[in-house]
């Protein structure tokens, strides 16, 4: 493989690390490690890609779109279905419903326990951990975004785990898992956001769940996921303050 071929392949290699396990890139990456010129080209190319990715993550849907989608979904789901064998279908549906309800209750309890553990860990770490704001390049925009009163935390964060690590954010262990903590100031209050990659083995469980709130003395934590990451946000001002941010 010559360098032009390697560049062609590597221009598709995303800086987030999503393609790190994709065998299509292995040979070109190996070549870049051994060739300083190619390595420099890759670094510059990825730096530009990272900037564009970050900018696009700042695009937010217009207000009201979510509500319109949900309203449309309700209307379409109410359309009646016809069947010749209504009784059999009803019996089958009833059995499925019983299994579904039992599963949901059991899975719901597991999810809630995991959420509780994460929230408790976050509050304890906020009180006992050594905090410092990130100092690395590229974190300023993130801090400004987090400090903005327009930002609603659910589904609007668009954070990059790798960028936060590179940006000097503190890495902590939550059980066996690695999380990153980001301290930010919003209207004079220091908040603590913990981010860890979503555990795929939990499947869609957490992704399907709502935000979980936990109050501990004067502090409160909210836990939620966007399917890629699991977040815990801790407020020293208590539950009402937190629900306004992540409710």
């Amino acid at each position: 493989m010559n360098n032009d071929e390697a560049k062609f392949i590597l221009s598709a290699y995303r800086p987030s690390g999503r393609d790190a396990n994709d065998a299509r890139f292995t040979e070109a990456l190996s070549q870049a490690k051994q060739d300083p010129a190619l390595s420099e080209w890759l670094a510059q190319s990825q730096a530009l890609d990272a900037v564009v990715m970050k900018k696009l993550s700042g695009i937010v849907p217009p207000a009201g779109l979510r509500e319109q989608i949900l309203a449309g979904g309700k209307v379409s789901q109410k359309a009646p279905a016809r069947s010749r064998n209504v009784g059999a279908w009803l019996a089958l549906a009833a059995s499925v419903l019983v299994v579904f309800v039992v599963s949901e209750v059991w899975l719901g309890q597991k999810v809630q326990a995991a959420q509780h553990d994460y929230a408790e860990f976050a509050v304890n770490d906020m009180h006992n951990g050594g905090h410092h704001p990130p100092v690395g390049e590229g974190m300023e925009e993130t801090l400004v975004k987090l400090a903005s009163s327009d930002l609603h935390f659910i589904n609007e964060l668009g954070l990059s785990f790798e960028e936060m690590k590179a940006g000097g954010c503190r890495t902590v262990k939550c059980g066996e898992r690695e999380a990153i903590e980001l301290c930010f100031n919003r209207d004079g209050t220091w908040y603590h956001l913990y981010v860890m990659p979503h555990k795929k083995s939990r499947g869609p469980l957490l992704a399907k769940s709502k935000s979980y709130f936990l109050a501990m003395s004067d502090s409160a934590a909210a836990v939620w996921t966007d399917g890629d990451f699991e977040y815990a946000l801790v407020s020293p001002k208590g539950m009402n303050d937190l629900k306004a941010l992540a409710g």
Partner: protein, 182 residues
């Protein structure tokens, strides 16, 4: 599918879908329509999908097909043979310039990229799908995705160098639907 499950599906995916739609449709109203239409199709058909883990890929594919369905009426195509690839060196000034632009300006630059390259390029930058999923969504081989990506990046870099020209270049989807050209 329960209302709660549908609501959670919407919450999990409507933001990246909107960004993809905005890149394709080039205006907020049509992007919103595309996202709504996509979830409407999910509500009427998509819930039958057996593997819930594939919902995200299904939603992106459906949105892109809906976009093409309307777009196809215009019959506009782009030659992909005459464009330079993106393997030239990236200057540090290019990165600084991009960093200084706001999100809307970068989106406008992306919207100025030819449609055939814009779709894979946007999915690349959204970073939500694997290459196999991107190829499935666009219904082209992975090699074609990479080739279009390379050329799309070249166009994007060109657009980022002169962002002031992109506003004139980008014609919103609703205007092209009425027969106007860029």
């Amino acid at each position: 599918m329960s209302t709660t499950a549908f609501s959670q599906l919407v919450d999990a995916h409507y933001t990246p879908l909107y960004r993809f739609a905005l890149s394709l449709a080039r205006n907020q109203a049509d992007a919103g329509d595309l996202v709504q239409q996509t979830f409407y199709i999910w509500a009427t058909k998509g819930h039958a999908l057996r593997e819930v883990s594939k919902a995200k890929s299904w939603l992106f594919t459906t949105l892109y097909r809906e976009f093409l369905r309307v777009r196809r009426r215009e019959g506009r195509a782009t030659s992909i043979e005459d464009l330079p690839p993106s393997e030239q060196d990236v200057a540090a000034e290019e990165i600084d310039r991009a960093r200084s632009l706001d999100a809307d300006t970068v989106m406008l630059a992306l919207q100025s990229v030819d449609e055939v390259f814009r779709a894979p390029l946007t999915l690349f930058y959204l970073d939500d799908l694997t290459y196999q999923e991107i190829a499935d969504t666009l219904d082209v081989p992975i090699g074609t995705v990479m080739s279009r990506l390379s050329r799309g990046k070249a166009q994007l870099r060109d657009s980022l160098k002169k962002p002031e020209k992109n506003a004139q270049k980008v014609v919103p989807f609703n205007q092209t639907k009425k027969g106007q050209t860029s």
